[in-house]
Subunit: 111 residues, 2 copies
DNA sequence: GAAAAATACATAAGATTCTTATGTATTTTT
DNA sequence: AAAAATACATAAGAATCTTATGTATTTTTC
């Protein structure tokens, strides 16, 4: 597998929030798998960014946690709070306008 | 004027390189004006990011500087080096693939 | 059945890139 | 004459990442 592509800083939590909005609840490792799958293996979230990111979302009240034991191994499932759903919409809108601005500036077509 | 939109970190130097590729030479303040113009005032580069960014591009050998005096005021014009032109293409390509990946992950249409 | 890979979490040090604040000075507009 | 725009700069601190390391279980492969 190639080394991680650089995530443009700031997009990680938006990704997490959007995936949680679609899947209802997910655990960290599952998120990394999902991102790899959706990008055909091109993008790998690093654990050093993912887990602190999830902790921050929790501290900010955007997600809640529920633990589940699978055999002897634990999983921490994350779900969006009501605030988290709103914030997800805000960040998606922000990201869209960022993309629009980048198109204007760089004069490129995306997709 | 509204407060600065957040630039997604990492995109600033790509913007600078692309504008320099189109304009041949520009000075810092001119770059901020151009970005404002292209985004209809929605995006303002902050000086605290712009000038250090230009200095770093120079230190990395991607741009060269030529001074010009306009009356009693100086301008520092920046131009792409050969390496800078290559790097600009690399970063644009990287950014495009990042956008593509974000589309895949977030399931959004851009533009 | 032993070794390797995958699963599943975590944290810490350091790098990078930004924001905010501040500073200097000239020129143009009001 | 005062305010806004032009034109540069740097420093402190915040935010977000990378890289490295650690622990432990489960599944796959040889």
């Amino acid at each position: 597998m190639p080394p991680n592509s650089n995530l443009y800083k700031g997009s990680l939590t938006t990704i997490i929030l959007k995936l949680l909005a679609e899947q209802d609840k997910m655990y960290g490792y599952e998120i990394t798998k999902k991102v790899k799958e959706l990008t055909n293996g091109q993008l790998s979230l690093t654990e050093g960014a993912l887990y602190p990111g999830l902790h921050k979302l929790e501290a900010d009240g955007l997600v809640t946690v529920s633990m589940e034991n699978i055999g002897n191994r634990m999983r921490k499932y994350y779900s969006l709070t009501k605030t988290g759903k709103k914030e997800m919409k805000n960040r998606l809108a922000e990201l869209q306008s960022f993309f629009q601005q980048m198109e204007n500036i760089l004069n490129i077509k995306i997709a």
